[in-house]
Symmetry: C2
Subunit: 280 residues, 2 copies
């Protein structure tokens, strides 16, 4: 593309406040841009920024022809109206796919959204790449059951599934009795657990034989800040070790859906740039 | 409201072509408007109307301050781009709730669409009015499974359900073995079956003891055109007589979800008028 356009695709990230996990996610996204030759632009704003300042930053990126994708890292600080900030992103640059028009066009039969939300696209991409057939395949005609915080006996519903996709944000939610033998598990949960540096990471699903959770590692520089006394590690929604004994395939956390989600963000940015350059 | 505004809410219907069932649906909607004091405007256009003529009719209704709701009766003739025609309806007057922005806002957590699609709203209203608790109740936290044309063993999934909502458009799809004893069935299917006037209506799910479908009536003026040699009758997706032996409640077709859907259309039109008059 650069040979034709002399211009690289560009991704702009807006980060408000100082959540460690958000900072880390944004860093990963920018690093991924560097690796594939996408220009990146980062706006970091303090926690107490007024909402119109954030909206203004978004507007400037909307107008900037070298920016083809804009992502606002969520969650925003509590005093902000997340909906208003997200709605300010121009539809053509909404590479996260969070604009309600994109969501509506994704939900409606016969319509095509400009962008598919990256984590959902990552799940589909993983299934596709590993050759998992969704029933009927034609536009993914699978039977979908949505398990909910208020669902009675969620494990009974989950245990019927050929493919389990968990995005609950609850560590160790999906246990052995939730999983049918031979099922495929995609763990979208990325739950940051804060610990002191050097603490042991324990797997709450297993005890060590004398009643304590089994140690599975030590908290090191997982937040990539060498001056910190704190560290954190990421854990998914699924008891990985338990699941491993039952499943035919499973994505780990970290290192599973996360990196593929970032790849989909880059892919959406590339699509956006192609549309802007009239190449699609 | 009229005492305050001196103006009635107004609903505009656009009907293209001469499908008997569409004509009948639109007539029912206009009649319902008359009954409750909502002004109605009907644009009937021939089957072969160019798309820009239809779009122009919609635009005029968009600009007309006495119109607060616009519905385009579907399906449109095959030569038209349904998506483009629907997108031409102003978001503020989209009382059918088919605009992708409304669908997106309906799908997304924490957002409110301007209008909820009438048939879906009718199902919720029926459950509410008859005191059926959806699990957790708070914003309707039910566990939802979507059965699909490509679902394997759909009857096994359906038989697990406390509440079955069928909107497949397939007569006699939901049989005895799809239904758990005590379930609640909402039949959204409205399938027009064409027959000659005076023909017997037969229930395909039951035979008369000698191998023929049981007669359950005679085709009369169900399409309300006294000069027609044809009649049609409506049937739902569910074998009503079979279901009746198992369910704790069921909606009939006709006379179930249909009239409530029209009531929801009027309710959306009223909401729209209130917003236009600054009364909400």
């Amino acid at each position: 593309m650069r040979e034709v356009t002399k211009q690289a695709p560009g991704l702009a990230a807006v980060l408000v406040g100082n959540r460690r996990d958000s900072q880390s996610y944004v860093r990963h996204k920018i690093k991924a841009c560097e690796e594939v030759g996408i220009s990146s632009f980062l706006a970091e704003l303090p926690e107490d920024s007024p909402q119109d300042v954030v909206a203004n930053v978004v507007s400037n990126f909307n107008r900037d022809p070298s920016v083809h994708g804009i992502l606002v890292q969520l969650p925003l600080p509590k005093h902000m109206d997340e909906e208003k900030v997200l709605d300010a992103i121009s539809l053509e640059k909404d590479v996260d796919g969070f604009h309600p028009l994109n969501v509506g066009n994704l939900a409606m039969r016969g319509r095509e959204p400009l962008f598919i939300p990256c984590a959902a696209k990552a799940c589909m991409e993983l299934l596709l790449r590993y050759g998992v057939e969704l029933i009927g395949k034609n536009r993914h005609h699978a039977t979908v059951s949505v398990i909910h915080a208020h669902s009675k006996n969620p494990e009974d519903i989950s245990r019927e599934a050929d493919i389990i996709i968990s995005a609950a944000g609850v560590p160790n939610l999906v246990r052995r009795n939730w999983i049918k033998r031979g099922a495929i598990v995609i763990d979208v949960g990325t739950n940051p657990i804060e610990r002191w540096m050097g603490d042991e990471i324990r797997d709450e699903c297993h005890n060590d034989g004398v009643g304590f959770p089994m140690s599975i590692g030590i908290v090191t520089l997982l937040d990539e800040d060498p001056n910190s006394e704190h560290g954190y590690y990421l854990t998914g929604d699924v008891c990985y070790e338990e699941a491993l004994q039952l499943v035919s395939a499973i994505t780990p956390v970290p290192g599973g859906v996360g990196p593929v989600t970032i790849a989909m963000l880059l892919s959406n940015t590339l699509d956006s740039a192609k549309r802007a350059f009239g190449l699609s």
